[in-house]
C-alpha cells in the first residue's frame, strides 16, 4: 500500500492494543468485547483498526469522548508508543512507499524531527520545564542536526515572537509561564523544523476560555500562513467546529462517522454523534 493521492498522511488498519489479546478477541469480534476491552484476557484495544487520510494543508478534526483512543492515535503516529499493527505512510518520506511503523528507531527519530511536530495536552510532556524557552525550541533544532548557536537562537526567537512570547521571557523557563503561554511555547517548538504535519492533542483543554480563543486563533493563523496539515484531537466539539474542515468521530477505538465538519454537525448519522451534537447545543 501507499499514500492515497493528495494525502500527506495515510493510515491503514492501525491498531494499538494494551495486552496480548486472546483467541476470542483477536479479530475484534464485538460479541467478545466490552466497548474497547476484552474481559477474557484483559486487553484494551485503544485503537481498533483505524484508517484515515490527512490531506495537504487541511485540518482534520478527531473528536470523541475520553477513552475513545484519540491520544493513543497521536502518540503512535509520533512514535511515543509503538503501533501494534497496521501501516502509516507519509507523502514526504520515501515517497510514501514505506510503512513508517516498521522503520528502525533511528529512522523514526528522523521522521519525528523532520516530518512531524507535536503539541501535547499536558505541556509537561512536550517541554523541559527547567530549560529556557529558547533551549526548548533549540532541542528540536539540535535533534535535526543544528550546530550553530546563532542560527538556532535566531530561529527560536522568531518562532517565540510568532507565538507572542515577549522577548524578555525567552531565557526564562516555561515552568514560570501560564498554561496558555506554555502551550504557545510548545506550538513554537513543534513548528521549529517546518514540519509538513502537526499533531495537536487537546491543546486548549484546561485553559480559560479567553486563553483558549487566543491559542485557537494562533493555530488558525499558522495553518493559513504556512499551509501545514494538522490532525487536531479534541473531546470538545466547539474546538473542532472552529478549526477543522473535516472531522472524524471516534468511539471505543473505532471511527463511527466522518465527513465535512459542517455536515457531521448539521446532520449526524451515528447515534453517538447525534448525542454529542445535542449536548453541544
Amino acid at each position: 500500500m501507499e499514500t492515497n493521492e493528495g494525502a500527506v498522511l495515510s493510515l491503514q488498519n492501525f491498531r494499538k492494543q494494551f495486552g496480548s489479546g486472546c483467541e476470542k478477541c483477536a479479530d475484534l469480534d464485538e460479541r467478545h468485547l466490552q466497548r474497547n476491552y476484552c474481559p477474557n484476557c484483559r486487553t484494551t484495544y485503544a485503537c481498533a483498526d483505524l484508517s484515515l487520510d490527512l490531506y495537504g494543508g487541511e485540518i482534520l478534526g478527531v473528536v470523541g469522548e475520553s477513552g475513545s483512543g484519540k491520544s493513543t492515535l497521536l502518540r503512535c503516529l509520533y512514535f511515543d508508543e509503538e503501533a501494534s499493527s497496521g501501516e502509516a505512510f507519509l507523502q514526504g518520506y520515501k515517497s510514501g512507499q514505506v510503512n513508517i511503523f516498521t522503520e528502525t528507531g533511528q529512522q523514526k527519530r528522523y521522521i519525528r524531527n523532520y516530518h512531524l511536530g507535536m503539541v501535547y495536552q499536558n505541556p509537561y510532556m512536550g517541554l523541559r520545564m527547567s530549560f529556557s524557552s529558547i533551549g526548548n525550541i533549540a532541542e528540536k533544532l539540535i535533534a535535526a542536526g543544528g550546530r550553530s548557536v546563532d542560527a538556532m537562537t535566531g530561529r527560536a526567537a522568531s518562532l517565540l515572537h510568532k507565538v507572542d512570547i515577549p522577548p524578555y521571557r525567552f531565557l526564562e523557563t516555561p515552568a514560570t509561564f501560564s498554561g496558555g503561554m506554555q502551550q504557545r511555547v510548545q506550538i513554537a517548538k513543534a513548528l521549529s523544523n517546518n514540519p509538513p504535519i502537526l499533531l495537536l492533542d487537546e491543546i486548549t483543554t484546561g485553559l480559560d476560555l479567553s486563553v483558549q480563543a487566543k491559542v485557537l486563533d494562533l493555530i488558525k493563523g499558522i495553518q493559513r500562513e504556512l499551509r501545514i496539515s494538522m490532525l487536531v484531537v479534541s473531546h470538545d466539539l466547539a474546538v473542532i467546529r472552529m478549526l477543522a474542515e473535516r472531522t472524524i468521530v471516534m468511539l471505543d477505538g473505532k471511527i463511527v462517522e466522518q465527513g465535512l465538519t459542517d455536515q457531521v454537525l448539521e446532520d449526524p448519522q451515528h447515534p453517538y454523534t447525534q448525542k454529542l451534537v445535542q449536548s453541544l447545543l
Binding site: 528507531g105 533511528q106 527519530r109 523541559r128 530549560f131 529556557s132 529558547i134 533551549g135 533549540a138 532541542e139 539540535i142 535533534a143 550546530r147 550553530s148 548557536v149 546563532d150 542560527a151 538556532m152 537562537t153 531565557l171
Partner: protein
C-alpha cells in the same frame, strides 16, 4: 604476613574486572557495566579507579596516585597506602617514573608514554544524565548515536552563562562514535586525551561503569560551529614556585593589596621542576 590476596581482590574478581576492561578497550568510549565491589573506602572516594588499579597492578609496577593534581592530599595518600599494603609495589611522585597513574580530576602535565597507564576516577560516567534520567533509554541513545541531549545541555549553558560553563567534565566525542564524559578534569586537560600514547582507563565505582581510551584514540571536545571549544586561560600566569607557564595553575589570593598568585596544580611536576632548577642554580648539570 598479608592475610589478603595480592592486590586485595581474589583472582576471580580481578579477572572479572579485567574482562570489563578488555571490552572497554575494544569499544573506545563505551561504558561497560561491571560488578563494583565493596571497598574499604567509601564509594565516591575513588573506588572505581581503585578497583581498576587493583585489577591491573603487577608486582613490578611503580604507582603514582594524585588527587586534583596533588600527591599529598589525604585521599591520595590513603589510596596509595592501601595499594602499597596490598601489593608491596613501589610508589613515586614523578609522572615519568610511574607505570600506572591513578588520578582524580587531572591528567598529569608531563606527557604520558606508551609504557604507561592512566586511571581516572569518575563520579558520573553518563554524559546524557542531565537530559535523560533513565539508564535504559540513555543506553539506547548511545546505541543510536543520538546525542541531542548532550548538545542541548551545552546550548543551555550558553544561554545561561554566555559560554559553555563546563568548569570540568566537558563532554567529548570518542573515535567519532561515543560521547564520553572525560571525568571532571579541567577543559585544559581535554586535549591531552586526544591521540594520547598511554592507555587511559576510567572507573566509576558508585555507578558501576568502566570505560577506556586505547592509545592514540581520537578525542574531540564537543563545540558548536560558532562557539569553538576553549580551555581555561593560563595566559600571562606563572607558577611562583617553579616558574612554569602555560600549565594548569591554581590561583590563590594573598593578603589585601597584593594581587593573586599562582602555583602549579600538578605538585609532582612542580616539585620536579623546582629541584632541577635548584640543581642548575648550584651549577650541576641537569639530567644526571
Amino acid at each position: 604476613m598479608n592475610k589478603y590476596n595480592f592486590a586485595f581482590f581474589d583472582e576471580q574478581s580481578k579477572r572479572e574486572i579485567r574482562r570489563a576492561l578488555l571490552k572497554a578497550v575494544a569499544i573506545p568510549g563505551y561504558q561497560v557495566p561491571f560488578a563494583s565491589r565493596e571497598m574499604p573506602i567509601a564509594r565516591g572516594w575513588g573506588t572505581g579507579g581503585l578497583q581498576v588499579m587493583l585489577a591491573i597492578v603487577g608486582k613490578k609496577d611503580v604507582i603514582k596516585v594524585i588527587d586534583q593534581g596533588s600527591d599529598d592530599s589525604v585521599n591520595a595518600v590513603s589510596i596509595r597506602k592501601f595499594i602499597k599494603q596490598m601489593t608491596g609495589v613501589l610508589e613515586t611522585a614523578e609522572t615519568s617514573e610511574a607505570s600506572i597513574v591513578q588520578s582524580r580530576h587531572r591528567v598529569p602535565e608531563v606527557p604520558l608514554t606508551g609504557e604507561q597507564i592512566l586511571i581516572l576516577q569518575v563520579p558520573i560516567p553518563e554524559p546524557l544524565r542531565e537530559t535523560e534520567q533513565s539508564e535504559l533509554r540513555a543506553k539506547r541513545l548511545h546505541a543510536e548515536k543520538e546525542y541531542s541531549g548532550v548538545w542541548l545541555s551545552l546550548f543551555e549553558q550558553i544561554m545561561k552563562y554566555g559560554c559553555t560553563a563546563t568548569g570540568a567534565d566537558h563532554p567529548t566525542m570518542v573515535h567519532e562514535r561515543y560521547v564520553m564524559s572525560p571525568s571532571p578534569i579541567p577543559r585544559y586537560d581535554n586535549r591531552k586525551l586526544n591521540d594520547c600514547a598511554a592507555l587511559i582507563l576510567f572507573g566509576a565505582g558508585r555507578e558501576k561503569k568502566i570505560y577506556a581510551l586505547p592509545p592514540y584514540t581520537k578525542v574531540e571536545s564537543l563545540a558548536f560551529v560558532d562557539r569553538p571549544f576553549v580551555s581555561e586561560s593560563m595566559h600571562g600566569k606563572i607558577c611562583r614556585l617553579c616558574g612554569a607557564e602555560g600549565v594548569f595553575l591554581d590561583e590563590s589570593v594573598q593578603a589585601a593589596g597584593a594581587g593573586p598568585f599562582y602555583e602549579c596544580n600538578d605538585t609532582g611536576y612542580c616539585r620536579q621542576r623546582q629541584s632541577s632548577k635548584s640543581r642548575l642554580d648550584r651549577g650541576e648539570k641537569s639530567g644526571d
